[in-house]
């Protein structure tokens, strides 16, 4: 990987962060009503500027610490898009409730910058700093409605479990450092310390599986998602998963290569044969078991939910399972290719954030009306939000004209290609159950008229209307131009290919 100027890699992160800091500095000087009119736009503009910086930055790595490649670029653009959409959702719900503070917009931008650092980092220590930056901001967002006891309870559960699993991740980093003498992803183990290496990598995987919300580290997810404001549920569901899958991918491809070179996420890596049987196969088996358990438990629990946020919480667990399926090892001589993972993560994040931003606008005062019965007929009342929700839920359910279909297709196709057709079948059956839950919600949205007589108040929601509609359009439009989507460079054996293409000595 070529060296790139540090500032060009840092620019997106700094732009998102400075957007947050400007919003935080401006907050005390604005009247209560103006806060919700001005601050979301500052953060949204910062996100758009950061997205341009991501698009313009060259591929490459700086100081073995940060890197950018095609897959990371996709994840970063999605993170920024999702943050802008979620800020729109926050604006709509907080303005409607005449919420006294405007700090939530700044926190969303800080969380996004932490996730950008997670995605870009080549070093587990830098990744940990990014992970905590994002997590601390999101803890504060979960407890945003300070008057409501369920909000405090969600904060308590999320913060305690989050801090415990961050510490487990960090202990993994310490053991990994002990085994390799480095905290970089892809560092080879010192001879004689292979057991320490395996233990360190496992602790890091457990920490990241918690961030994803995979079974058995999932108990916090439904409660934290239910206690948070609706728009925050969308934000945390989307960006924490994006950061966690990027780290899982870096760690996994690094373990497979173990050559001390910067990890590229958009490249297929042939695993080192000795490591494959000693380390990757047991870990892959573990991840596969977590994946199946998450998919089955999450999908079937969705059928019993009456609250939209709790439904999304279980959907997050089921989707964590789908995000772990690409870690099934391919057949013995094939390279490890995670492009299906990036595609699935992008589709999931866009759909979840846009669906909850739209739901935040129509969830009623204090977001208390997000029960399926209270959402009855809201689609007819608010056609735009109804349409956005329909597109996003169809994408989450994996119906064909949406990006979510392509994501599920890629992940399950890869699973079958790796010989796991029984796993794919189980996942497909569970996905059908999940689809039934999403479709029941859609029927509630469009069937009949709202049961309450008085009209539902809407706050200032210009950003939300544009943002969530744009995300819904993207979910359909991206399917039409698959050439743009993340895919791995077909470099199965880089050394062999380069020796073939190089001119033979004395040939000229």
């Amino acid at each position: 990987m070529d060296p790139a100027p540090l500032l060009s890699l840092l620019a997106p992160l700094l732009l998102a962060l400075s957007g947050g800091l400007i919003a935080l500095a401006a907050e005390p000087f604005l009247a209560r009503v103006r806060k919700h009119q001005v601050l979301p736009w500052i953060v949204a503009v910062a996100c758009i500027a950061a997205a341009f910086a991501v698009a313009l930055a060259p591929n490459g790595q700086a100081y073995g610490m940060l890197a950018l490649d095609a897959a990371r670029r996709w994840l970063m653009l999605t993170t920024l898009a999702v943050t802008a959409v979620a800020v729109g959702g926050l604006q709509a719900s907080l303005d409607r409730d005449r919420f006294p503070g405007g700090e939530s917009y700044a926190l969303a931008a800080v969380a996004a910058s932490g996730v950008l650092l997670m995605i870009m980092s080549l070093d587990a220590l830098a990744a940990f700093v990014g992970m905590e930056t994002a997590a601390l901001a999101i803890y504060a967002l979960v407890g945003l409605r300070r008057q409501r006891p369920e909000s405090g309870e969600a904060l308590l559960k999320y913060l305690v479990m989050g801090a415990v699993f961050s510490a487990i991740f960090l202990y993994g980093v310490a053991l990994y450092y002990g085994a390799t003498g480095s905290t970089r992803f892809g560092a080879p183990a010192v001879a004689g310390r292979e057991a320490l290496f395996a233990l360190g990598a496992s602790c890091m995987l457990i920490g990241l599986a918690f961030k994803l919300g995979a079974v058995p580290f999932h108990a916090w997810a439904p409660d934290a998602y239910t206690g948070a404001p609706v728009a925050v549920t969308g934000l945390m569901g989307a960006i924490v998963k994006l950061g966690a899958v990027a780290l899982l991918g870096s760690l996994w491809l690094g373990l497979a290569a173990s050559d001390g070179k910067p990890v590229r996420l958009d490249q297929a890596v042939p695993p080192v044969p000795g490591l494959r049987s000693a380390l990757l196969e047991p870990l892959a088996l573990l991840l596969t078991i977590l994946a199946i358990a998450s998919i089955v438990i999450g999908s079937f629990a969705m059928l019993r939910q009456s609250s939209l946020r709790r439904l999304v919480g279980y959907s997050a667990i089921a989707n964590a399972g789908f995000l772990l399926l690409p870690f099934i090892l391919p057949f013995r001589d094939a390279a490890i290719d995670l492009s299906a993972l990036w595609l699935y993560a992008v589709a999931y994040a866009l759909a979840t954030a846009a669906a909850l931003a739209a739901a935040a606008a129509i969830a009623g005062p204090d977001d208390a009306g997000d029960n399926l019965s209270q959402l009855h007929g809201r689609g007819r009342q608010f056609p735009l939000y109804g349409a956005v929700l329909s597109v996003c839920l169809a994408s989450l359910a994996g119906l064909p004209p949406m990006l979510g279909f392509l994501g599920k297709f890629a992940v399950l196709g890869q699973t079958v290609a790796a010989g796991g057709w029984i796993i794919a079948l189980v996942a497909l059956i569970a996905a059908l159950a999940a689809a039934a839950a999403y479709l029941y919600l859609l029927v509630q949205l469009w069937a009949g008229t709202p049961r309450d007589e008085q009209p539902l108040a809407l706050g200032g929601d210009a950003l939300n209307r544009w943002g969530s509609a744009a995300a819904a359009v993207l979910l359909v439009a991206l399917l039409a131009c698959p050439g743009l989507l993340p895919s791995s460079a077909a470099v199965a054996a880089p050394t062999a290919a380069s020796s073939l293409s190089a001119p033979p000595p004395g040939g000229k």
């Binding site: 300070r146 305690v160 801090a163 202990y171 003498g181």
Partner: protein, 109 residues
Amino acid sequence: MPTDAAFFTPIHVQVLAALLFGLGLTAALARRDLFIVLMGIELMLNAVNLSFIGFARSHAGSASTLGQLAPLFTIAIAAAEACVALAMVVLLVRQQDTVDTDARSALKD
């Protein structure tokens, strides 16, 4: 009398770090008092620091420097985490006048 290096080998440090980590994990997961839970989390992070320092002795050159530097990151992040966690304690005690974590169990299926 044993020299300092022979008395305090890297493996001893790692065993101590693992014990402290386990103690912290147990306190964080099993105790009901919010403050004990938060102290358990701090103990886990400090055990990780000890582990980093212990491993730094077993590496040479810049690899050793990295292990001595890493705890600085952890300390800073642990302080930030404690700020948020203590703000949470204030919030929770204002809502409900107890530090018992089991008193908060309204959210369920």
